[in-house]
Symmetry: C2
Amino acid sequence: MALGRGYADQDCSLARALEVVGERWTLLVLRDCFYGVRRFGDFHTHLGIPRAVLADRLKALTAVGVVERRPHTTGVEVDYVLTERGLELWPIVFSLAQWGERWLAPEGSRRLFSHAACGTDIGSSGACPACGTVPAPADLLIRQGPGADATLRDDRVSAALRSGPHRLLTDLFPSPAHTATSDA
Amino acid sequence: MALGRGYADQDCSLARALEVVGERWTLLVLRDCFYGVRRFGDFHTHLGIPRAVLADRLKALTAVGVVERRPHTTGVEVDYVLTERGLELWPIVFSLAQWGERWLAPEGSRRLFSHAACGTDIGSSGACPACGTVPAPADLLIRQGPGADATLRDDRVSAALRSGPHRLLTDLFPSPAHTATSDA
DNA sequence: CGGTGGAGTTCAGTCATTGAACCATATAGT
DNA sequence: ACTATATGGTTCAATGACTGAACTCCACCG
């Protein structure tokens, strides 16, 4: 985590994990990855993170293989998407969000997750009460909860998330025939 | 998290949670709390954290009600123990550690957790394969794994954790008739 | 050929962390 | 009573990280 001297002398997997995801904005960037954010500019405006820090975090996450940088074949656009390693961070992101909902959201839940296959809201453990399984993030739908505050942010990512349920990991802004390379 | 300006304008429970546990050493302090560390000096020597930062983190965690400061009736000793709120952080600590074990521990697991009631090692989801339940931290035993590196740290906390299985949350250094207040 | 949008980099100012030294209180020893 | 030690901090200068604004670079657009 480049924490001063790092946690290198810790002999603890938690410390090692924190070196990767423990820096200041990193987990919020990863949360956005799960939500379907893929573009530098979207991370930037959605999070309000300084560009330099965002560039640094994306570089670090790419270096450790948590996200993958996927340049478009044409244009300057770049996609950042989670790798297998990154996808397995979901329990961390989810459990942090759940704890926050439970203890720091007196207004009610801000976001709700449901199992796409059966439509059931998942429990705080991450398991689907109907199926008894723990759905992978790709099988979850996210939607606004009663505690969401629409006045806080006004960017296209917030708008997209507000506009209705969205399946995790799918691109929030798919480009139908955008700059046209694999154009039908 | 006092991250520059904090994550106050995020409308996200994950961001709120990170303001509480996202600062640099905080999750390692909490990990030690789960392991049974309770004293200022033990956190200090076990983690190698600067005293000023440790004092600050403990103050912050106490302020948000994640740990509780419990002065002894006599003496200068102080215990820091997890509250209910703090105990519910276990999934976060555990999932981070599991991810670290999975992806950042080529030498093998450093620490293993087993369900005290049945002796079965718990899975990466935190569930006990034998019982099918997800044991609370108080029902878990921690012990060294094959990937543990005894050369890294040499303090009494590390020694106590090396010496054999230990039940989470129980005091690593119980004082039998220490300074004698409730002395039999 | 100028303008625009995406994706960064650079840089001065500010804030947090570090490590060492210092302080306060309580008990233990003599 | 006086000193020594342990515990749990606080203070402070130096270092490093973060912030915000400005700037760059490149591909396309018209």
